[in-house]
Subunit: 359 residues, 2 copies
DNA sequence: GAAAGTCAGGAAACCGTTTTCCGAACACGC
DNA sequence: GCGTGTTCGGAAAACGGTTTCCTGACTTTC
């Protein structure tokens, strides 16, 4: 048996094959193997081929730890979700992971679960692992304090944003999304539009409510009643819809802060004998397929395109790793997905003064 | 300036601090620093303290790549989701990540997106990164071919299972879950139980349907009509409920293969004037909160406890990494979560012969 | 035919950490 | 005052790659 004195751990069937094994089989030195595999130096075609087939035969995979050690690059990034991984994080993560994978980067998954201690633990771990960069995501779009200061590697905030304007953040243009929702309702002839949304202390709720109000004001209109702040739940949607029906039966559209709320509203309206979209048009937010498609009728909704957003974040991170940082807050447009809940009524609304700038 | 000839990459503000920096500051050798930080060897308390405070002062974090290189352990594992990361993968991943994090292991996230090419790419990547183990998950519980053979590291299949019985798989006891659902319906006095579920070619659908049928047979009963196979959607639930109402109005309970289907059934029943649970009791599967709680009334459902399952998978993987492999198929019990959709009717069903073994 | 130049591939340093081995200093007993 | 043991800490090898430098063989040129 050749003199292999590597610390063989008994549980392992055959320790991983190293560049040394390849060199031995090909009858060359390790330096030559490295050159052959990486296309460096000058080697005879025959030698190169001999090395390549030896590597192939042994199923050689270079030990990335060793590569990392002398290149200083690990080709890994960390992805920290500040809160529990959920519906919003997933498309983000998938988009980012996909974009990073294309750049041969692997992703460390870190679920901080809304716990600052866990978050800092993960940050230390990632720094210790010498990741090339970090993506920070979270369920809420509200700005949060930077995860660390003076970090030796670039950080990109996705969906969530950093309170430090010098940090790189990628956020959905929620106000723009609300604008699109309102514009669409106006375009299909609705004029008495109510807004039902989540808790007032929730950043997204206020941003969307404000944007909707503002857009209506630009069109010379007002929201039908004050925005109804509550919870991000179907139950609240149902409850709020009943409030609306009790107070003001003349509403012809409801723009909701989430698809869940919209769905509750749809159910309550139907139970009260109002038809969607004929009597009341409905727009949700999030374009969450199970909610938007399960709704009766299927729901028009604002899509924040989180997967694209994740991809953008990853691209910005890759650029920053390569020395081309793009600090600042980058907004990412939302897209309105139109479905039956805002289909043009069979009985068209009376033509009012046309909304200015509406195209 | 002291002779630092490290390859300084210009983009980086201050290269990460190494054990050498600590040694220099503390006025000792690197070996001593290592001993001080890891509690090895015999050092004077004063020396140890001097090293620790130097490390503290510099914010030293050992380079894990270097540690990996000479320990052979990377303290990382790969998590491959064979299909797109989704509703089922998330709790699994969270559970696994949590259990692994407690063991100081970091997790590489790999989303294979139902693409065997991607899957093999990720497998190679993970092997190249010398992960200590791999967890394979997927959306379907059906057995799949092993991700690789003769791998040098342990693999645990979670939720999904491997066709090779020597592989370690952790799967939910779906049949047991169906049994619990049926037992509960029997216990609240229902006798004419129908079953609506997903596509017949879907493993989970047939397993649950068969288990429900068998359990009823044990109680001397039969399913009300053949199982209705369709899709995993609310629309199918609504449609199937109408079929049921048209064909057989005497059903007093429906056990559904998923919460989405159950929700569709609930909506259709309500639209047809049937009360849930008074006229028809309803049980779902998955205990997906948004569906089960959004449903009117809230849905009794079978919970596969995926987070626990993920944790179990991680624990089995950690054990296997430590040389204590537990090959074979491990089943994980389901839990029935009882809500209003199966509340005891206000008008109790006539007491039939009591179901045997019902407690 | 000798000097110069080119080409192929080997030897060794290096990355950052751990661990083994060894030597120096010191205390102790005789 | 000299061997012996103990304690502390340094030197160096090892992990698995990459890269630089160098040498030897061959080719070219005058």
């Amino acid at each position: 048996m050749p003199g292999r004195k590597a610390a063989e751990r008994p549980g392992n069937t055959g320790r991983p094959v190293t560049i040394n094994d390849v060199a031995q089989l090909a009858g060359v030195s390790v330096g030559t193997v490295s050159k052959a595999l990486n296309g460096r130096g000058s080697l005879r075609a025959e030698t190169r081929h001999r090395v390549l087939s030896a590597a192939e035969q042994l199923g050689f995979q270079p030990n990335r730890a060793a590569v990392a050690l002398n290149s200083g690059r690990t080709y890994t990034v960390g992805m920290i979700t500040t809160d529990t991984i959920g519906r919003f994080s997933i498309p983000l993560m998938m988009g980012a992971e996909d974009a990073l994978g294309a750049g041969e980067m692997s992703v460390f998954l870190c679920d901080a679960r809304d716990d600052p201690i866990r978050e800092q633990y993960y940050l230390r771990t990632l720094l210790s692992r010498r990741v090339d960069g970090i993506i920070v995501t979270g369920r809420r779009t509200q700005a949060r304090p930077p995860i660390g200061t003076g970090l030796p590697i670039p950080v990109v905030y996705a969906f969530i944003s950093s309170t430090d304007p010098r940090d790189c953040s990628v956020v959905p243009d929620e106000a723009g999304g609300a604008h699109k929702a309102v514009d669409h309702l106006l375009a299909v002839g609705r004029r008495r539009i109510a807004h039902i949304t989540g808790p007032e202390h929730h950043h997204s709720a206020t941003v969307r409510a404000t944007a909707a109000t503002d857009r209506l004001a630009e069109a010379g209109l007002r929201l039908a009643g004050a925005p109804l702040f509550g919870e991000w739940s179907e139950a609240w949607g149902r409850q709020a819809a009943q409030l609306l029906l009790g107070a003001n039966a003349e509403v012809d559209a409801v723009f909701c802060g989430s698809d869940q709320i919209a769905r509750g509203v749809a159910d309550a309206l139907r139970a009260a004998g109002r038809r969607v979209p004929d009597d009341v048009a409905l727009v949700g937010f999030d374009n969450w397929d199970v909610m938007a498609l399960g709704c009766q009728p299927p729901l028009t909704s604002v899509d924040m395109e989180l997967e694209k957003l994740g991809r953008t974040a990853a691209d910005l991170l890759l650029a920053a790793i390569n020395g081309e940082a793009s600090p600042g807050r980058h907004t990412h447009p939302c897209r309105l997905v139109i479905r039956d809940s805002t289909a043009a009524s069979s009985t068209p609304a009376p033509a009012l003064d046309s909304a200015p700038g509406g195209s």
